[in-house]
C-alpha cells in the first residue's frame, strides 16, 4: 500500500508542478509577515547544518571547499525540505565582518568580503577561524575562534583611524598569510582573494538562480553588525570587551562610535530596493551583558545603525543570539515595523511575542532541542499549540532558534516541523 501523502509531499509536488506560483506565494507571505500583516499562512523558515551534510552524504570539507559537490547536495536538500525562506551558506561561511570594515570604502565588494570562506581562509591563514580538512577534521563544522588582536592600550590608535588601524596592525597580526603590509606576499594575497571571491560569487549566483527556478525566493540582503561585537569578536575577545566596558568605558564607547559610519557604509553598499531589502546582523555579546552594560555600551550604537538604515528604506533582520529576554523592551524603542527579530532561545518565547507583536515581526518559537530530541508527535503538538496562541495576529515567522541542526536530527522530525507549519499555519 502506498504511504499516505503528508502536507509536505503535496507542497513538494507543487514546487515541481508550478514553481512560479509557489514562489509568488512565498514572496507575498514573507513580505506580509515582515510588514506585520496577516499572510495566507505563517511562513516557515528553512534548515541547514550538519543535518544537510548527513542527509546528502557530503562532509563539511565538501561544503566549504568542494563546489562541484555542493550543487547537487544543496539542490536535493532544498527540494526535499522546502521552506518559505532560508539561508544556506554554500559554500560555508563564517563571520568575517572585520574584512568588510577593512574595505568599507569600496562598496563594490565590502559586502562580499565580509564573510570568511574556506578558500579565503587558506590565503589569509587568519587566526579567527578554523576549517575542516585544514585545522580541524573534515567532518567538523567550520569554527569561529575569535581572539585578542588588539591590546587594551591600543584603543586610542583604533579610535583615531579604525580602518587604517585594521589594515596596518590587526590584519598583519591575525592573518599571517598576508605577510608584511606592502610586501609582494601581501599584494599577491589580496589579488588571490579577489580571484577566489569572484569564483565563489559566480558559483553562488548560479546556484541561487537554480534554487529560484525550483520555486524559491530571496530578498536583497545586506549586512550590518553591532559595533560592540566588532570589538568582542575580532579585536578584544568577548571577555576582553566586557572588561574594557568596566575599565576603559570612555574608550570603549568612542570605539563603538567610530565604527558606526563604516558599518553603515558596508550596509548601504547594496541599495534598498522596494518592496523589501533587509540588513542582517547577528548579535553576540547581547546575552552576556547585564541590562546596565547592554544599555550603555551595546544598544545605543546598534540602535543608531538600525534607525539610520530603516530611515533609508531598509528593514532590519536581527538575530538575537542566546537568551535576549532581559533586553527585549529596548526593541520597542525602534519605530514600529522596523524589521524582523529572530530569537535563538529566549527564556519564555510567548512573553517575548506578547511584548513585540504588532510592533516587530518575530521569527523563532521552536526550540532547537525539540527538533533534535523530540518525536514527530511532540513537534506537531507543540507547533499546533504555539500557532493557536499566536494567530490570528500576523507578523510571525516560524523557525527554530538556530537553523543549523546536528547530524542526529531525524528526517521524520524535520518533516514534522514543516508539516505542522503547513497544517496549523493557515490564517
Amino acid at each position: 500500500m502506498a504511504k499516505m501523502k503528508e502536507p509536505i509531499d503535496l507542497w513538494i509536488e507543487r514546487h515541481e508542478r508550478e514553481p512560479d506560483v509557489v514562489a509568488k506565494e512565498k514572496f507575498d507571505r514573507f513580505l506580509k509577515a515582515a510588514e506585520l500583516k496577516v499572510p495566507d499562512r505563517v511562513p516557515v523558515a528553512g534548515l541547514f547544518g550538519d543535518f544537510l551534510c548527513e542527509y546528502t552524504g557530503i562532509t563539511w570539507y565538501d561544503l566549504s571547499y568542494n563546489l562541484e559537490k555542493i550543487r547537487p547536495a544543496v539542490l536535493k536538500f532544498v527540494h526535499n525540505f522546502p521552506s518559505d525562506w532560508g539561508i544556506i551558506f554554500a559554500p560555508m561561511m563564517l563571520e568575517g565582518f572585520i574584512l568588510g570594515l577593512a574595505f568599507a570604502d569600496f562598496p563594490d565588494f565590502s559586502n562580499t568580503i565580509r564573510f570568511l570562506t574556506g578558500p579565503v581562509h587558506d590565503i589569509l591563514k587568519d587566526k579567527w577561524s578554523q576549517w575542516p580538512g585544514r585545522e580541524i577534521k573534515e567532518d567538523f563544522h567550520p569554527q569561529f575562534r575569535g581572539g585578542e588582536f588588539m591590546k587594551p592600550e591600543e584603543y586610542k590608535q583604533f579610535i583615531e583611524n579604525p580602518i587604517e588601524f585594521i589594515h596596518g596592525t590587526i590584519l598583519p597580526r591575525a592573518c599571517p598569510g598576508l605577510g608584511t603590509p606592502g610586501s609582494p606576499q601581501w599584494n599577491a594575497a589580496w589579488i588571490k582573494i579577489g580571484m577566489t571571491m569572484q569564483k565563489i560569487a559566480s558559483f553562488q549566483a548560479q546556484l541561487i538562480a537554480e534554487i529560484g527556478k525550483m520555486g524559491n525566493i530571496g530578498f536583497p540582503l545586506t549586512n550590518a553588525y553591532a559595533p560592540a561585537d566588532v570589538i568582542g569578536d575580532f579585536l578584544r575577545y568577548p571577555t576582553g570587551a566586557m572588561l574594557d566596558m568596566k575599565r576603559r568605558p570612555d574608550e570603549f564607547k568612542m570605539a563603538c562610535e567610530v565604527l558606526v559610519e563604516p558599518i553603515l557604509k558596508i550596509a548601504t553598499a547594496i541599495p534598498p530596493v522596494p518592496p523589501l531589502t533587509v540588513f542582517f546582523a547577528p548579535l553576540h555579546l547581547n546575552e552576556m551583558l547585564s541590562p546596565k552594560l547592554y544599555n550603555e555600551f551595546y544598544w545605543p550604537h546598534l540602535k543608531k545603525i538600525i534607525e539610520t538604515l530603516v530611515a533609508k528604506g531598509y528593514k532590519g533582520f536581527i538575530f538575537f543570539e542566546g537568551d535576549h529576554s532581559p533586553h527585549v523592551d529596548t526593541i520597542l524603542e525602534l519605530p514600529k515595523g522596523w524589521g524582523i527579530a529572530w530569537f535563538e532561545r529566549p527564556k519564555n518565547f510567548m512573553e517575548v511575542w506578547e511584548k513585540l507583536k504588532g510592533h516587530t515581526a518575530v521569527m523563532g518559537g521552536v526550540p532547537t532541542s525539540l527538533l533534535i530530541g523530540g518525536t514527530p508527535e511532540k513537534i506537531d503538538e507543540y507547533i499546533k499549540d504555539l500557532l493557536s496562541k499566536i494567530k490570528p495576529e500576523g507578523g510571525f515567522i516560524l523557525s527554530p532558534g538556530v537553523n543549523e541542526l546536528p547530524k542526529t536530527t531525524s528526517v521524520a522530525n524535520v518533516r514534522a516541523y514543516i508539516n505542522a507549519a503547513l497544517k496549523y499555519g493557515v490564517y
Binding site: T239, M242, M245, K246, E287, L289, S290, L293
Partner: protein
Amino acid sequence: MSLKDLVEAYIDLDEEKVLKIAENLLKSGGDPAEIIEACRSATNIIGEKFERGEYFLSELILAGEIFNSVMRIVLPQLKKEIKPIGIIVLGTVQGDIHDIGKNIFKAFAEAAGFKVIDLGVDVPPEKFVEAIRDYKPDTVGMSCLLTAGIESMKKTVDAIKEASLRDMVKIIIGGGRVDKTTCEYTGADAWTNDAATGVRIILKWAEEKRGR
C-alpha cells in the same frame, strides 16, 4: 576600611575600591589569609546572584578578574603559603576552546582554597594524564561546551583509566553541554552547570578525603 567594606565593594564589582581596601588593610598589618577569606565569601554571593539571574556573565567575568588582581597583591604578603585544601587539574577538552566558564570556575575554586593547575583549552587526553602524573591532584576538572567535546571527555577518562590513574582522582565535568547522561557516558564522578555548585562538590570531596 574593614573586611566588610571589602566584601561590599567586591559584590558591587568595584575593582578599584576592592584593590584600594586590600592594599590599605595589608599596609596596616591585616592578615592576608583573612583578605582571601573575604574574597571567597564575596565570590560566593556573586555566584548566587548569577544563579538567581541578578548578575550576568559580564559580572562573573569581572568577579574572576577582581579575584586575580587581589591575589596578585595578597599572595606575596602571605608569610607561609596556606596549604591548599586540594589540588585540581583543570582544562577545556580537546576540540573545544570555550574557556569563559572554565576560568570562572578556576577563580571560584581558588577563592575556596584550592590550588588549580590550569592546562588551558583544547587539551588532549595525554596532557591530562601527564598533568596527573606531575601534580598528583585530588581532582580533575574538565570543561566542555560543544557536543563534539563529549567524545573528548570520554577519551580523556579512558586515557586516565588506561594509565591506571583513575583511582587516584575524582573527576568533575562542567560547562553548558554537560548533564547527567553525559556524566554517566563519560565515566566522570560528578557534573555541574554552574561554578558555585562545582565548588560545593569539590569541597565535599576534600572533606571526605580528610575524614578518611
